[in-house]
């Protein structure tokens, strides 16, 4: 019951208005924005599919070039951060805006939001590590660097020479832009955490910021699951 | 200066021009109806003091009519156009006996490879001529179109034929010349600063002339 009333307050339009969608502006705006993000990633992923199917030879096996276990761990990390995001939302919707409470033990908004920020930041960190590692081994957006480990794999025929260039191009562009989105998410959430959550601006009557950033967060997570599947697994 | 389409120099030029004319008639009728109607309304219903416009929100019947007529016309036009499209550019449109010529476009020239006396591309007697396309009259010719660097477009106005040459693709385009003479081949896709001078001559020969030219050119007389 309390939950329902809270929603009512939040959606309140600032002036008498014709009935629109019964969703407050910020949330509607985020949905609309995410529609455009879907198109952005569709352009990248669609290009990847077209290039891969039209490629002049077989695609490199991911496990030969990429470090799949590390990224699998990273995927797990990002999914966990989505879970903590849900916990943060549930906490604030119930009015639990504290950090931690011990008797009985419960995490509040401040705790779960911080956990999400840390999860996202760790994801970006692991990705940065992965990139450094790959570049070090000679895997570049343009393909294999001459005289590197990856170039040897190409020379020995383990990794097809005809497609390694496309492989690098699509890999770095897609995962890079995803990483950029996670970074933006971490920065925005940190901003909300510092300026709103820590200052007690969220309550069960108004937690729009948490809900809206949560939508973004889950979207970015979902994109990653698609990317991980098509880039690292198939 | 003509006010109409150029010489019909290929077998399908007539069909394309016919379709052009058909569309001109259809669009001409629509054009006259709309423009004359507008002009008439502008004069007839010009504002006069003390008069009020006829208050109406529309008429479903009128709207159904002017939805249905264009819809039927457009679908019919689509079907007719598609018939010619499949015939001219469809996957299987190239006549089996077509004479093969390879054209490799690069900034800013057309490298035309002829099959030589044996009539087969990819054999030792092939030879290349720059910026000159020689074809026999009355015989289908298939051009294997490739590009070295950027996208070019093979365009011979008198043949009504156009096809982009795309790097990384090998595209077949065919035509059958009908009128002997000398024409021009131009690039129709912006390909760099020399786009405007990426020009070649097209010679449509009678079969005898073509054979004679071929014999001479194969000996190395005409190379670039």
């Amino acid at each position: 019951m309390a939950h329902a009333t809270a929603t009512v307050d939040m959606m309140h339009p600032p002036a008498p208005a014709e009935r629109g969608l019964d969703v407050y502006n910020n949330k509607l705006g985020m949905w609309v924005f995410l529609a455009s993000e879907v198109m952005f990633f569709t352009a990248l992923i669609g290009s990847y599919i077209i290039l891969r199917f039209g490629a002049p030879g077989p695609w490199a096996p991911p496990a030969k070039v990429l470090n799949v276990p590390v990224t699998a761990f990273n995927t797990f990390l990002l999914i966990c951060s989505s879970v903590t995001m849900v916990k943060a939302y549930a906490a604030v919707a119930d009015g639990e805006t504290h950090f931690l409470r011990f008797r009985p033990f419960s995490g509040g908004l401040k705790f779960w939001m911080l956990a999400t920020i840390i999860g996202g930041a760790m994801f970006v960190g692991v990705q940065a590590y992965e990139y450094t590692h790959l570049v070090h081994h000679g895997f570049l957006p343009s393909g294999a660097r001459e005289g590197s480990e990856v170039a040897e794999l190409v020379a020995s025929g383990v990794v097809p020479a005809a497609t390694i260039g496309l492989y690098g191009s699509t890999f770095y562009t897609m995962t890079g832009f995803h990483g950029f989105h996670v970074t933006c998410g971490v920065i925005s959430m940190t901003y909300l955490y510092v300026t709103k959550a820590l200052r007690g601006k969220y309550s069960r009557h108004d937690y729009r910021g948490v809900e809206v950033i949560g939508l973004y967060w889950h979207f970015v997570d979902l994109v990653w699951i698609i990317l991980f599947t098509i880039v690292y697994l198939i | 200066m003509h006010w109409w389409l150029p010489l019909k120099g290929s077998t399908f030029a007539g069909e394309i021009d016919g379709l052009f004319l058909a569309i001109l008639i259809i669009t001409g009728i629509a054009f006259v109806i709309v423009e004359a109607g507008l002009l008439w309304f502008v004069v007839k219903y010009r504002g006069r003091p003390g008069r009020k416009a006829y208050y109406t929100h529309g008429s479903t019947r009128a709207e159904v009519i002017w939805t249905a007529i264009p819809a039927v016309t457009m679908v019919a036009l689509g079907l007719i156009s598609n018939h010619y499209w499949v015939k001219i550019k469809g996957r299987n449109s190239v006549p089996p006996n077509a004479y093969p010529i390879a054209i490799h476009a690069k900034q800013f020239e057309w490298q035309v490879t002829y099959p030589g006396p044996d009539g087969q591309l990819g054999t030792a007697d092939d030879f290349e001529v720059r910026n000159q396309l020689h074809v026999p009259v009355g015989r289908p010719v298939v051009v294997h179109l490739t590009s070295e660097d950027v996208i070019h477009s093979f365009f011979v106005p008198v043949f009504r034929v156009k096809q982009d040459a795309v790097p990384g693709m090998n595209i077949n385009v065919w035509f059958q010349a009908t009128v002997p003479g000398t024409y021009e081949l131009g690039c129709a896709e912006l390909c760099g600063l020399g786009h405007y001078r990426m020009r070649a001559q097209v010679f449509v020969h009678t079969q005898e002339e073509f054979d004679a030219w071929m014999k001479q050119a194969a000996k190395g007389g005409a190379t670039s």
């Binding site: 009333t5 600032p14 002036a15 208005a17 009935r19 969703v23 509607l28 705006g29 609309v32 924005f33 529609a35 455009s36 198109m39 952005f40 352009a43 290009s47 393909g143 260039g165 191009s169 770095y172 562009t173 | 200066m1 006010w3 389409l5 150029p6 379709l19 052009f20 569309i23 629509a30 054009f31 709309v34 423009e35 309304f41 008069r51 009020k52 416009a53 208050y55 529309g58 009128a62 939805t67 819809a71 457009m74 689509g78 156009s81 598609n82 499209w85 996957r91 660097d149 950027v150 034929v161 156009k162 790097p167 990384g168 595209i171 131009g186 912006l190 760099g192 600063l193 020399g194 020009r199």
Partner: protein, 588 residues
């Protein structure tokens, strides 16, 4: 609860003590942002026009020194004679500026911003600060694009469509930094459009005045709404494509590089998947505003309001499945060509509905030929030519001949200049009083209209003839071709007409600028229109209304038998009108 919120909002509606900077530069007021867009995009329209004039000089008088061309550096025009590399920069930048920085922001940036809140009865946009970001991002994009002329190797040279691999490799195009700036600029422009679109969509869905139901919205708002959806979904595809292109240019990726397995046609598919919705972004708002103006000028309700709305929706929907008609000659599978041809031809149907409905609106009207009406009628007359000439290229066999010729140039200018720009001349004159509190000069407006109308047709109609002769687009010197030499007098004629067309725009510019100061003071409702914006003083104040008006009817109730006057505003309450049901703020 409702009342409390409303009053608190009113409190600052008319107390405008913001600093100059907040009021006019970093403003979050949708009207100021609209006006900022207006000035900036009129400037870019001028830039685009100047570029076109130089092209026309070269085409009309190839190889002759251009008057005043001496001021250009030797890398562009030594001794005033344009170089071919400069000419293709002009081609590229004219298209880019006109499409992305003139017509698109004039229609969407200016009028979506200015009109949406005023016409639906909102105090401002849903997200005013995002709106401001949208403007600054667009301005930044325009400046980055303009900077292309001043970097080494000059502006981009691959056409406004930037077909790869030409655009992807500096060694092939000859342009390096300019081509990169083109990409960077469009990323910012895309961002601007997306931010703008999400604002427009949210505002229209959620912030309408009481009584402003979906089918009481003016067609201008409908078209801007649908346009916003197109922009929202199309621009990110462009962003993705230009980012890939930028990576190909800078960090050595191979998306469009056939040598390493990339695909040249992928760029075209991405570009036109964005590009065709973009074409409708460039015309739908014009159609919407023209509908408003024609109904007003005819003093008659719009004919077939609902089908006008559905036609907009249909055009927008079909706009997503026709992109391949730009690629009939590209080497794409010919079977795809067949399906794209059919979908393209079907677009003629909603376009025809709109045209005939505009005529139906004028039929038995009581026409007032104020300047906006003249321009709106010209829009219909010219759009019809542009629309009909589109059928030639939709028919694939004919396209085989006229593709990439001046026939296309004629077609697209009939739609973009004859269509969008005439609509804009009308719209600028029409809403000028609400923006600036002054009226533009009526007689000068008419002089400008007639001269523009005549010269415009003298410029672009003969281009059909050039196209029918096979005159290719984007060629620096048509006299290189023997078959084009006889057409040189026509090219010269077009060029002279183009100079005249450009020159008479000075009338509009002067009328626009001088009226700011010396224009007649505008009454509240100079055109006797029904829209909500006319319930406000001119210029409209910050925050728009103290309390938003209530809407009792649709926007086109002209010559209604209910009142003696020939107009009946949406906000006027007649004794027979009932209050709209106040929406109880609903829970889930």
């Amino acid at each position: 609860m409702t009342t409390v919120a409303a009053t608190s909002h009113v409190a600052h509606a008319h107390h405008d003590d913001r600093s100059f900077l907040r009021k006019y530069i970093f403003s979050t007021d949708h009207k100021i942002i609209g006006i900022q867009f207006l000035f900036v995009s009129l400037f870019f329209l001028l830039v685009g026009g100047l570029l076109a004039m130089q092209m026309r000089w070269q085409l009309g008088f190839p190889g002759k020194p251009m008057p005043g061309g001496g001021i250009l550096p030797d890398t562009m025009a030594p001794g005033g004679v344009l170089l071919p590399e400069y000419y293709i920069q002009l081609v590229t930048m004219h298209g880019t500026f006109m499409v992305f920085f003139a017509i698109m922001p004039l229609l969407v940036g200016v009028y979506a911003n200015f009109l949406i809140p005023l016409k639906i009865g909102a105090h401002d946009m849903a997200f005013p600060r995002i709106n401001m970001a949208s403007f600054w991002s667009a301005l930044l994009a325009g400046l980055i694009m303009l900077a292309g002329f001043f970097v080494p190797d000059g502006a981009p040279r691959a056409g406004w469509t930037s077909y790869a691999p030409l655009s992807a490799r500096p060694d092939l195009s000859g342009a390096s930094y300019g081509q990169m700036l083109w990409c960077v600029s469009l990323v910012f422009l895309g961002l601007s459009s997306i931010l703008g679109s999400l604002n427009y969509i949210t505002t229209i869905i959620n912030n309408r005045a009481p009584g402003m139901t979906w089918f009481r919205m003016p067609l201008s708002v409908w078209s801007l709404f649908i346009t916003a959806i197109l922009g929202l979904l199309a621009l990110p595809v462009l962003s993705g494509a230009v980012i890939m292109l930028l990576f190909d240019q800078t960090i050595g990726t191979h998306f469009f590089d056939p040598v390493a397995g990339g695909q040249a046609l992928l760029w075209q598919h991405l570009f036109w998947f964005f590009g065709h919705p973009e074409v409708y972004i460039l015309i739908l708002p014009a159609m919407g505003m023209v509908s408003d103006i024609i109904s007003n000028g005819s003093r008659k309700p719009i004919f077939g309001y609902h089908s006008m709305v559905f036609a907009i929706v249909a055009i927008a929907f079909l706009g997503w499945i026709v992109w391949g008609h730009h690629m009939f000659m590209s080497g794409m599978n010919p079977t795809l060509g067949s399906s794209f041809m059919v979908s393209t031809l079907i677009i003629a149907v909603p376009s025809a509905i709109k045209t005939f409905n505009w005529m139906g609106t004028m039929w038995r009207g009581n026409l007032r030929f104020h300047v906006p009406m003249l321009n709106a009628v010209a829009f219909v007359a010219m759009f019809v030519i542009g629309g009909l000439s589109g059928i030639y290229m939709a028919a694939t066999p004919v396209d085989m001949f006229i593709h990439d010729t001046y026939f296309i140039v004629a077609h697209l200018h009939y739609v973009l200049f004859g269509g969008s720009l005439f609509a804009l001349f009308g719209a600028i004159t029409y809403w000028y009083p609400k923006m600036f509190g002054k009226l533009m000069s009526e007689p000068w407006g008419k002089v400008h209209f007639w001269l523009t109308f005549v010269f415009y047709n003298l410029v672009f109609f003969p281009m059909h003839t050039l196209g029918m002769a096979g005159h290719m687009r984007r060629i620096y010197d048509p006299t290189q071709y023997d078959f084009l030499k006889p057409y040189q007098p026509l090219n010269e004629f077009i060029s002279i007409s183009a100079f005249a067309l450009f020159a008479v725009q000075a009338i509009f510019a002067l009328n626009f600028i001088l009226s700011l100061k010396w224009g007649k003071k505008a009454p509240q409702n100079p055109w006797e229109d029904n829209g909500l914006e006319w319930s406000l003083p001119a210029p409209a104040p910050h925050g728009n209304w103290e309390t938003v008006p209530t809407v009792y009817r649709g926007p086109y109730e002209f010559s209604s038998p209910q009142v003696p006057e020939d107009y009946l505003p949406q906000y006027r309450k007649l004794p027979t009108d009932r209050e709209p049901a106040r929406t109880p703020v609903a829970g889930h």
